[in-house]
Amino acid sequence: MADHSYDFHFVNEVVLPGDIVAEKVKTKQIVVKKIKLKLGPGLRMDKDNIIAYKCGVLREKDSTMFWIDNDQKRYIPVKNDKVVGIVTNRGGESYQVDIGSSMASALPFLAFEGATKKNKPQLKIGDLVYGRLSVANKDMEAELVCTDTNGKANGMGPLKDGFLFTHSLGLTRKLLNPDGAVLKVLGKVFSFESTVGLNGRTWVNSNSSDHTILIVNAIEQSEYMTLSQIKQNVHRLAEGMRE
């Protein structure tokens, strides 16, 4: 192993909570202090060791970034995540939005592009919004905004019609992966809009409810499929619909 990298055990293998993934990191850091180590979800420093606190597959990038790919269903808010929420209540200055985490989050009335006191989007209870988490701290109510850091909407805002479905966070990552296959394959066969929230919620809209049902099924089934299987499955579903 090159001297400027960290040596972790179990890379690309399954780890369980409590597994020591790397030892005596701090002492080694003195030697390789040029490169900053980055720990992603599921890993934490415990004295000099790095231990796993989730189960899943340990992944790495450039030998400096490490994280655990795990497939849970419950979402934990992280700052700057883009999520799909459901409006559950309306307060004096903000909407209360359910994002599937343990606590609801707040969406201020003015957190939309170009919103003013007089001119702001009106949302009803049960409406969907696609937004970005601007505040996500432990033990605090998360805050949602529908603008990017420059104040532009950038695709965020209320979602109309269509259908929303929930799935595991692992599938979310697969859908958002630039190499993710299922949305591309589906896009060649059908015309539809979709929004994937990092909180395990995906919204789909198409011309007809038949298409929407089919797209939702294809996405749900794709979770444990290979590329060729996905292609086959989409074509099978599309054939079935034409008959």
Binding site: I86, D98, G126, L128, L164, F165, W203, S209, N217
Partner: protein, 289 residues
Amino acid sequence: MKNSKVVISSCEKDFILSCVRSGKRMDRRHTYDYRKLQISFGVDRGHCEVQLGKTRVLAQVSSEVVCPPPNRPSEGQLFFNLELSPMASPAYETGRLSEHTVELNRLLERVYKQSQCIDVESLCIVTGEKVWSIRVDVTVLDDGGNIIDCASIATITALSHFRRPDVSVSGEDVTIYSIEERDPVPLSVHHIPIYVTFAFYDNGALLLVDPTDREESVMDGQMMIAMNVDREICAVQMNGGLSLEADQVLRCSQISAVKVADITELIHKALRVDAEARWEHEIKTYCGG
């Protein structure tokens, strides 16, 4: 009905309702279709796991000898305990007995105690002193809708699969034999009642058999009919305060008769396959040892 913490958006509601109205279902089933049912057994007797679509329920039967209450000195006891684990859905919490849990427990208790499908008198060892107490623990592992059907199938299959230790009485002495000494004996199951659930929409105008969790979340009301293979109705429950036409109810009972016949056959088949596997295993160990 499920008193859910999980919020549902209006677009989901509208979409599912429009699908129901046009006779389409998300999983491409027809209105009267049941989902795929899988029954599997554990190593122990009386351990049964049933999967109905995405819904998964585990039932475990156990037995112990207890002193009967004075008003029923010669009857064995039956206990049912259903738990909704938080693993099944974020709507469920541990330690809190929700209305939904109580309802499901009552439904199970009502059909399996009051329809007398288990012969409780055969569970008596010494009148007024010792009887068998049979306990069924039902755990919902995943909620994909229609828990009660799945739980009832798991419960009755586990009861049919269970074997209690053999006992003998001579004078005052009661001997309980271990599995090695004497083959354990099955409970006497007279008949197999199973719940079939119907979900209603548009004030009872539309109905669906075996609703999924999504379909349950937008329904107006539901009806569960427990029936056995001889078309005897063992329990009926209606939720949601709907008023249905008489022939609608009759139609439901006819549908449930067909479904119950199919499911009972599946249960018998699963039990037979398991019995054969055990028999083969036994022969192997006997010949090998």
